[in-house]
Symmetry: C2
Subunit: 364 residues, 2 copies
């Protein structure tokens, strides 16, 4: 394996780049908010004064967690009253930019801390493919656009870097890894949830039918980036070896794959499916473009999203001696190339988001 | 005030510099270990399965927390048995290098995680001069070489940058701030401790008698650094304005100042003094030097300690346009100057450490 575990689940640039550009992920998260609020209203609560625990699995730099966690806290407060402590634990890999996360929590005007002195944030710097919190510790789990990142790379992708573009043996290996990681994620979270607790998971969707996959979602952005990488190998700005090391360990799952562990009775381990729904993600970039025809603005938005979400991970395939500067130059060049291509061929992203609500069964 | 709150309590370099060079602090922490273990044996424990909470107030990059926290966990395990979850919460300011902290916890062979899968680390990125954990949440608090950093700078120091070198009005302002911050630290921790919990605090000592202060402890290092800064202003490598902004918001307290809030009956708020002791800190650098006469090695050790502990904070007085490179150059130049001066005038550090053990009173 050319990658160590800690490099996986998506590398992000420091200084809040992910925070500023992960807008489709924010829109996807927003679709899940009513279900998250319902989960906060439905979960089992005991009397007493122990802190209520919300876990945010895969927080990145925190920006996209503010609104959903604030909504969850508001829903819990209608049940708890004002003073019961609520602990919010943000989980991400050790190399995540936790300083930006804590700074955002303190300073963002829409932070969930702004109105509630009895909320206590913390962070765990460890992969969520391991046990990260004590058993029966979590009242409400939230995981948005995170469990799409695999724990390991089971195969390389021929002539591409994105697992859904793979075929044959490689595709089968990714399907197996995707199933293993999803099962592991669910089993670990089942252990960490309290009885009667809820876990709400948001993921980018992949259509059930293979033929439509290539034409939809982020696939066309992936293909543009892939073509740019070939150009860069051809003109010598990256080596074939570097190109060969580039892979996004991201595995969007079909609805049937998400539900597979819960067959046949809707239960897996102690978790029961309460809700599973697929939504089209609103795309204000495309709406604006249809209104104002500003193709450059559309291209800049899509390229900014792509840069923040995927390019740091691709850049980690570069030779280490290129350093931070070389990685920045690479990221800048691909971003610029994407913009040019998107200006020539504007097309809507048409992303979908899957939302699952799981309830932990057991003695009240 | 030229400094914002988040710049205070000691800036550290990233990539683990503090971890490698804060050896006097480690030696001071080691002196407190038997008292920490005793606190772990004495604190009140309930039956049941709620996690036991250890809070590490002022963890920096984590290196110096490993051994004491491991010792505390071992002492707790003799009472708890193997499976009761123990949560360890490392508290430091938001800009602390939490990635190094989490990496050290996972990888260091002497990490407290190495032998115990039922220990769960987390971090809080917020000044400990604020509320950082829920009320009655902490069983055992530990704070080593952290509460010496002030929450704000109440005055500038004439012709120096270190509060103990100040006189007159400025000195009085630092004494007031030192008292305010110590009271605030204690009141906040009292609220966070469970009834029957313990808080162990380690601090660098300052002698009761003023005349001896100048000749002891880190004072001679501070004076060397101060002379170097004057040289750098004279030769134009830093501006007088930059020099004027440099101040270490560090306030070592006399034993009488530490005990003042507990007058007259040994209690402050719900905290009672169980133990208060001053120890000379073993100095293996000086011992080695007495044996082998290697003045260069001694100078490198002391300068390395000084660099990691104090220079990033002084460097934050530089003009922002100097950037990271300018700060590194400054830190390198002062470190080198210190080495040269220490080679010419070898002298022992003669540090002392104060250790306090506080117990939270209240219903069992």
């Amino acid at each position: 394996m050319p990658y160590g575990l800690t490099r996986l689940h998506g590398v992000t640039e420091a200084q809040g780049s992910y925070n500023r550009h992960a807008t489709p992920q924010a829109a996807g998260g927003a679709l899940a908010r009513p279900l998250l609020e319902k989960a906060a209203r439905d979960l089992a609560l005991d009397a007493g004064d122990r802190p209520i625990v919300i876990a945010d699995y895969g927080s990145s730099q925190g920006r996209n967690s503010l609104t959903p966690i604030r909504a969850a806290i508001a829903a819990l407060r209608t049940r708890l009253g004002p003073h019961r402590p609520i602990c919010v634990v943000h989980v991400d890999v050790a190399e995540n930019d936790f300083s930006t996360l804590f700074d955002v929590l303190e300073r963002a005007p829409d932070s969930y801390l702004a109105e509630d002195p009895d909320v206590f944030p913390s962070a765990v710097g460890r992969s969520f493919y391991r046990s990260v919190l004590p058993p029966r510790h979590v009242d409400l789990g939230w995981s948005s656009y995170a469990a799409v990142w695999l724990s390991r790379i089971p195969a390389m992708v021929r002539d591409h870097f994105w697992p859904p573009a793979s075929t044959g043996e490689a595709r089968a290996a990714f399907e197996r890894q995707g199933a293993l990681d999803w099962n592991a994620f669910l089993a670990l979270r089942a252990r960490e949830l309290r009885f009667g607790g809820r876990l709400v998971v948001v993921l980018p969707g992949l259509p059930e039918e293979e033929p439509s996959a290539a034409a939809s979602g982020s696939h066309f952005l992936m293909d543009h980036a892939n073509a740019l990488l070939s150009e860069m190998v051809a003109d010598g700005s990256i080596t074939a070896e570097e190109r060969a090391r580039m892979l996004l360990p991201s595995y969007p799952r079909r609805r049937s794959e998400l539900l597979a562990p819960f067959e046949p009775d809707g239960c897996f381990d102690s978790l029961a499916v309460e809700h599973c729904e697929e939504f089209p993600v609103p795309d204000s970039g495309w709406t604006d473009y249809q209104r104002n025809g500003d193709g450059a603005a559309l291209a800049a938005r899509y390229a900014g999203f792509y840069r923040a979400t995927f390019l740091p991970t691709l850049a980690s395939g570069l030779a280490p001696e290129r350093g931070a500067e070389g990685r920045q130059a690479f990221i800048g060049r691909v971003t610029e190339g994407l913009k040019q291509r998107l200006i020539r061929q504007p097309a809507p992203l048409q992303l979908t988001a899957q939302v699952m609500v799981l309830a932990k069964q057991g003695p009240a």
